[in-house]
């Protein structure tokens, strides 16, 4: 008996379907027909970057990636594969929580002022290729920006109209650790459609599932067939292999209390010794949400604007008050970031702030690995390297 259950949950009684890889273009076309601007991975400047996708040809076909602390390379893999790489430096907050956005503008009126709100509402967006870690990150941002004391209208409008086509990873990079955090590689909820790419010589297909009414409707417009038990087994094995391949992990048992109590742990010094406070980690992190505002005038002084930009707790000015910064040392700033991710975030929002995507490890210019930082604190290894 089939009946549709509301959004966010896998539709009960509906089997996963199979989509031939050649038909993926129809999925993109169906999204475009509905007025979505489709955003997906593209290959650019030696990495996987998120950008507008008009057709399958825009996807970085045949690439996989090599990631390790401070190291990222795109490599050629199987020619046909479309999603055989992990995540690149950009995350979906690029579109949901933009790096630069005008909050409002104002004009002078007789000593006072009038607020003008002329924001262009972009989108609606459809994200194609959201990995499990990034999906968890979107849910984390949902909690902060739409379900807290106040609601951020910029995020909310972009999020409400968002169509998510998730992709389950069938391989992991060396820096991935979603398995240990329980955020992946499997995806179970919070999407409209989910794809799993199964690519081998002579066969290229996607398993496609719906996770919402919208997803079901769109799925019905595509030529699919029910996925066979064998195909589903193949998928399960691929997902298991992806999880199994992950060599990094964070053991969260007792970690929140450890960080809470470990403020004065002398090992913070060595853990953060290499940190240059460049803020790369916060920029590539899919859950980091800190921003700053900038006010400005035009030359006539009649028109003012307020802009919001990404900010980072790693900058010296972030904690500036009364002639000085509270967190002056790199050690204090690194400690703040790590403690926020695995301790304070839980107090604030109910979950950790890390989703195990590994970007901070890959894109740290000095290769600081936060899983090592955590391990150092947990094991009491004073000779350990960060």
């Amino acid at each position: 008996m089939e009946h549709a259950v509301e959004t966010g949950v896998t539709i009960c009684g509906r089997r996963p379907h199979m989509l031939e890889a050649g038909k993926l273009s129809e999925l993109i076309a169906a999204l475009a027909r509905r007025g979505y601007t489709v955003i997906g991975p593209t290959g650019r400047d030696g990495s996987v970057a998120l950008d507008r996708i008009d057709s399958v040809a825009d996807l970085p076909a045949g690439y996989n990636d090599e990631q390790s602390p401070g190291h990222y390379r795109l490599k050629h893999g199987q020619e046909q594969s479309l999603f055989a790489y992990a995540v690149g430096p950009q995350s979906w907050k690029k579109y949901l929580h933009p790096a630069q956005v005008k909050l409002w503008s104002a004009e002078r009126t007789n000593g006072s002022f009038r607020i003008l709100n002329n924001d262009s509402r972009p989108g609606p967006y459809a994200f194609l290729g959201v990995r499990a870690c990034d999906l968890a990150a979107i849910h984390a941002l949902d909690r902060i920006l739409t379900r807290d004391r106040y609601r951020d209208p910029i995020y909310s409008t972009r999020r409400e109209s968002l169509f998510i086509v998730a992709v389950q990873c069938t391989q992991s990079a060396d820096t991935c650790f979603c398995k240990s955090l329980g955020t992946g590689p499997e995806i179970s909820q919070g999407f409209d459609l989910a794809l799993t790419e199964l690519c081998s010589p002579g066969s290229h297909q996607f398993i496609i599932r719906t996770g919402s009414r919208r997803g079901t409707k769109l799925l019905s417009e595509l030529k699919t067939s029910p996925a066979s038990t064998e195909i589903l087994q193949e998928e399960a094995q691929a997902l298991e292999a992806a999880a199994h391949r992950q060599r990094r992990n964070v053991n969260q048992t007792g970690l929140k209390e450890l960080l809470n109590k470990g403020f004065d742990d002398p090992r913070w010094e060595s853990i953060s010794a290499r940190c240059m406070t460049c803020a790369n980690c916060t920029m590539v992190c899919p859950t980091c949400f800190c921003t700053t505002v900038e006010d400005g005038n035009d030359l006539t002084l009649h028109h003012a604007e307020r802009w919001r930009r990404w900010d980072s707790c790693f900058t010296l000015s972030f904690s500036y008050i009364h002639g000085g910064s509270v967190r002056a040392s790199a050690k204090a700033r690194y400690r703040q970031w790590l403690t926020h991710k695995f301790s304070a975030w839980i107090d604030q929002f109910g979950t950790p702030g890390c989703v195990g995507c590994g970007r901070c490890i890959t894109w740290c210019p000095v290769g600081i690995d936060l899983t090592e930082s955590v391990r150092t604190l947990q094991e009491g290894d004073t000779n350990g390297n960060p």
């Binding site: 409002w104 807290d148 505002v293 703040q336």
Partner: protein, 287 residues
Amino acid sequence: MTAMATLEAIPVANDPMLPQAYIVQHVDKETSDTFSITVDPEDGVQHCSFKPGQFSMLWVFGVGELPISISGDPAERGRLVYTVRSVGKATNSLVSRKPGDGIGVRGPFGTGWPLEIARGRDVIVVAGGIGLAPLRPVIYEVLQNREQYGRLVLLYGARSPGDVLYRKELATWARQRETQVLTTVDYGGLSWHGHVGVVTTLFKYARLHPSRSVAMICGPEIMMRFVTRELELQGLKREDIYVSMERNMKCGVGFCGHCQYGPHFICKDGPVFPYERIRPLLDKYEL
């Protein structure tokens, strides 16, 4: 002049990041660098009043925005008063406003002083420097609802006689019944005949009933550390002590992340905190 598409003045109440226009009524000089600015809403509508201890984000056209505690009388609905110390470009532009100028106000934000808990009890107010500003609304509230509270004791420390705020009001308050006002300065000139010494030296002159008191403290963080210690020595229970904390703020609504203090966002979990909750954080250097 550029052409702009679809300009519309949007209703400000929908978005906590949009300032409301308030008009400066008068700017009063308190000390050589500190001024109190009184503003009324431009549209004449009495928006929701504030709770003592809350703050606003004040915007000067094109210059910038600052978190400033409200220092006025909560009974004066709609009207807002801010006591601002001019220490840099943004504060200076704020105190340079003239009557008739418009400023942007967002808020009120944050938690207030525990006046409900203080009903029927003695209220001890300990203020250091400009910390008296966010506590002044408490004094107004208590004095205007005298029967609802017990004794009021104000212990106030300033840097020097020239830095003492609200001098006339201090004298008026001191004359109220069941009210004790003690002021001290760190550096006294020969013409100052009041107390000289840090604010904790005032405790020996204060008539306190610790077991039935609620204490509210605001001032530099280090001052709050030694005052809370002294209050405990005087016999106050930790759960009866409240402090107002401060950090860098950009949004005031829990989004920008700047004001985090341990797990707390000072803009929405504070700025007023029960001492018990932040006591373990006060000793942490570079938190």
